[in-house]
Each structure stands twice: as C-alpha cells, then as structure tokens.
C-alpha cells in the first residue's frame, strides 16, 4: 500500500490540473436554456415511453403471429409427411386448395358449417380423436361437443369450432390426416349480414320502447298504471334480451364455424398389411409408426403451450435488454 500515491495527494493533483482547464463562460447558461426549452412538462418522455411500449408490443405480436403461422404450417407438413410414410396416397374427393380461404373484406358475416365423415384404420379411433382435437386447437379453435364409443363398433362424433377464416384450413388438415379415408364431406356457408342488421334494428327499437316505458313507469301515479306499465316493461325487456341473444349467437356463429366430424373404424381385415410383417420389419414399422404418432400428438397438444413459452421468453428478453435501452433513452 505504501507504494501508492496517497489519496490527498491525488486529490490535490487532480484539483490542480482541473483548475487549469478553462470553463466556457456561457456553458452553464446554455445548459439552463436547453433544459428550459426542451423539458416542456414531460410530454416528450411520455411520447417516447408510449412509442417504445407500442414498438415492443408490435414486435411481440409479430413474433406470436409468426410462431402461430409456423405452428400451423409445421402441423400441416407433419401430417403430409406422415401420410407419405404411411403408404400410397388416398383420394380425398376433391382437389382442395391448401391456401387459406379468402376472408370477407367488406365486413360481411358468414356462418359456415360443415360435416366430415372419416374412416380410420382398425384400433386407431382414439388416436384419430386426438388428432382431430389437435387440429382444432392448432387452428385456434376448440372441441364443442364429443361423443365417442370404443365398444364393438367404435365410432366418434366430434363437433369442432374453428375461426371462420380457418374453416377451409381445418377441413384440409383433417382430410390430410394419415391413414384416413374420407367417406363424405359437406360444407355450407350462409351470409347473415342482413339478418344481423335486421336484428340490430329490432333491438334498437325494442330498447327505445323499453326506455320510454321506464320513463312512463317512473311517472305513473296509480297502482293500476304502475302494474300495467310494469308488465309492458317486462315484456319489452324480454324482447330486448331475446334480440340481444340472437345477435350474440349470430356473432359467435360468424366468428367460429362449426364442423361435425364423424369417425369410424375400418374392419380389422382392412387394416394395413403390417400384421403380415414379421420379425425386424414389424418391429421397425411399429417403432416408426409409434414415434410418428407420439410426435404428432405432442406437437398438436403443445401448440398453445409452445407459443406461451416463446412469448414468455420474448417478454423476458424485452425486460432484460429492451427495458435498459428504453430507460437509457429517457435518461
């Protein structure tokens, strides 16, 4: 420690050289002017914070959207590749385009429904049900109803709801499930735009009438008048509720299309010739088939979880790296 220059000496040395550095005569004045001219009630700060937050949100939204698209694409590719592995391609009863369907751009409300009758290999009904569920979830939808029978004649009726814009995509993906034969298929689309407008007009009229009746009720003097008007208010309110319910229903139907999927198993004799294999060939086929099924199931089930995890990672990244940048920008 004795080799070091002592602190008081250093303070003195630094003071001496610094004191000889000339200070701009008007520097402090300029600094004050800068502060006065550019710190108008913190508006710029808020604008920068808002801009930073919006930019961050846009980046995250872009990541989520990209991942969602990627997930859908990979799911479709996975199904296609699995199908290629499984054997010769099957007919699907129509050359459907795989591209996303056109979405109404004029604000039209379309209610889409459809049915799909699929036949799956023997003893694979449970797996097929999982795959159908996976397709619905992967497209941002859900299973609205499900009835399965794994008895002597295994069948399943599943109603899935998927966003209208992805209805065609859902059918395409279900058609492309491995080892599935399409027995029947139907689609129906109804434009309910005018119906919605009509019901909305009725709702407005009913609401006005109810409100007017409420005013009358508030001014009623006699018991008879009160009872009479109250009954009419109750009737008007019921009509309002009913109309609002219809609007809500049409909104839901035009937001999520409904697809009824019927699954049935082929007879045992119709199963692939795998049972005819033996030894290493059979073991290899079983292993490959099992691996593919498990991976597909995991991908289908983990779609949403994967996005959440990636979103959380993006958020952590934002907090760790973007926040200091934003903070530095404010300082």
């Amino acid at each position: 420690m004795s080799d070091l220059i002592e602190e008081p000496v250093l303070v003195d040395l630094f003071g001496r050289i610094a004191d000889d550095i000339p200070v701009p005569a008007r520097g402090a004045e300029y600094a004050v002017d800068n502060i006065v001219n550019t710190t108008a009630p913190g508006r710029s700060d808020r604008a920068r914070v808002v801009a930073s937050v919006l930019a961050g949100a846009a980046v995250l939204a872009g990541i989520v959207l990209a991942l969602s698209t990627l997930s859908t694409t990979s799911s479709s590719k996975s199904s296609s590749s699995a199908r290629a592995d499984a054997g010769p391609p099957r007919t699907t009863g129509g050359g459907r385009a795989v591209t996303d369907p056109s979405v109404p751009v004029d604000g039209a409300k379309i209610v889409k429904t459809g049915t799909l009758d699929l036949q799956v290999p023997h003893a694979t009904l449970r797996l097929a049900v999982n795959r159908v569920t996976g397709v619905a979830v992967g497209l941002g939808g859900y299973v609205a109803d499900s009835k399965t029978n794994y008895g002597s004649d295994p069948t399943a009726q599943i109603t899935i709801r998927v966003p209208v814009a992805r209805f065609e995509n859902a059918i395409t993906q279900l058609d492309a499930l491995p080892d599935v034969k399409v027995l029947g298929e139907s689609e129906n689309g109804t434009d309910v735009t005018s119906q919605v407008a009509d019901v909305q007009a009725q709702l407005a009229a009913a609401t006005s009438e109810r409100d007017a009746l409420l005013v009358v009720l508030s001014r009623a003097q006699s018991i008879g008048d009160i009872l009479s008007v109250r009954d009419r208010v109750t009737t008007a309110q019921a009509e309002v509720n009913q109309l609002q319910g219809r609007i809500n229903l049409l909104d839901r139907q035009s937001t999520f299309s409904s697809l009824a999927v019927t699954l049935s198993e082929r007879a045992a004799s119709g199963a692939p010739a795998v049972h005819g294999r033996s030894g290493l060939a059979k073991a290899w086929w079983d292993a490959r088939h099992g691996f593919t099924n498990v991976v597909e199931w995991l991908l289908a089930r983990s779609g949403a979880a994967l996005i959440i995890v990636l979103f959380a990672l993006a958020l952590l990244f934002g907090i760790r790296y973007l926040y200091p940048i934003v903070r530095r920008g404010l300082v």
Partner: protein, 186 residues
C-alpha cells in the same frame, strides 16, 4: 424568472464547472466534453425530481455524463488519436501562466510539469480505470456514488481505484509523488 427557472439555473451553475472539467478529463477534448455536459444536464434534470436527495441526483448526473462521454469515446475518434488533456493549450491559461511566471517562475514551471505528467499518465490509463479515478479524486464522488455512475458494483469500483492508483504510482513521471520519494512534490 420563475421559481422553477431559478432552481434550474442554480442547480446547473453550482455543478457546471466541476462537471465540465470532469468531462474534459474523461473525453480528452473540450468539444466532446461540452456536448456531453449539455446532454447530461438536460437528461439528468428530467429525472431530478424522481431522486430522493442531492447525493443521488449528483451520482445520477455523473452517470449520465459518463455514458455520454463513453459514447463520445466510442464513436468519435480512436483512442490513440485522442487529444491529451493539456492545460497549456488554451491561450488564456498560457497568459495566466506567463503572468504568474513573472512572480514565481519555478513554481509555475513545476506546476505545468506536474499537470503534463498527470495528464499523460491519465491518457495512458484504460477508460474504465481513468473514469473511476477522475470521479473519485476530482469529482469527489464516494465509491458508492461511483458505482451508481458507472453501473458497477462497489467492489468493482474499489478494485479499479486500487489498480488505477497502482498504475499512477508505477509511472515514472509521477514518481516524485510516491510516499517513498525522497522529496515530495509541492
């Protein structure tokens, strides 16, 4: 002038000279230092009310200043081309020295030599060491305040200070200031 304006002016004027000289010592040239200081005062003022006491406010001011200086050091000019802090470059200071020289020529000459030696030694220090030693021995910040200013742990500040002092002491140009020197500098 409003009360707020008076507070701003008082706050800036009380700190301007020391802050500016600190910036010159760190940046190595007056032009960069002036820009860094103006930027630092502006930014530090925005957060002034959010900080509880003058000590932390000053630490925050120096933090902004150090960032601004680092930014200048990174993008302006390569280190080897940086101008050394030479107190004799300014004409006014030269005149002042000449005036003093007529009275105490030996002392003024020694003073200039000391300043040159320290400036040269400082110039040779890495940025990380130079900044902490300037903040400690010129800006008079505590180790904790320096830690805030350079966004490092107090332990890091302590070790950097020790290393900087070791290097200053090892420099032959400042040998006269070591405790074991026979004749200490004035």
């Amino acid at each position: 002038m409003t009360d707020q304006g008076a507070v701003q002016e008082e706050w800036v004027r009380a700190r301007y000279a020391r802050t500016y000289r600190t910036a010159v010592l760190i940046c190595g040239n007056p032009a960069d230092a002036e820009e860094a200081v103006q930027d630092a005062f502006l930014r530090a003022w925005r957060f002034r009310d959010a900080l509880p006491d003058d000590s932390r406010r000053d630490a925050w001011l120096y933090r902004v200043l150090v960032n601004a200086c680092y930014s200048k050091l990174r993008k302006e000019i390569p280190r080897r081309e940086r101008e050394r802090v030479r107190i004799s470059v300014d004409a006014d200071v030269q005149n002042q020295h000449l005036t003093e020289a007529s009275e105490q020529p030996d002392r003024v000459a020694e003073r200039a030599l000391t300043a040159d030696a320290l400036a040269a030694t400082l110039h040779d220090l890495p940025d990380g060491l130079r900044v902490v030693v300037i903040l400690r021995y010129y800006a008079d910040l505590s180790e904790r305040e320096i830690a805030i200013a350079i966004r490092r742990r107090p332990g890091t500040v302590k070790s950097r200070l020790h290393e900087a002092r070791r290097r200053l002491a090892a420099d032959a140009r400042l040998a006269a200031y070591r405790p074991d020197a026979e004749v200490n500098a004035p």
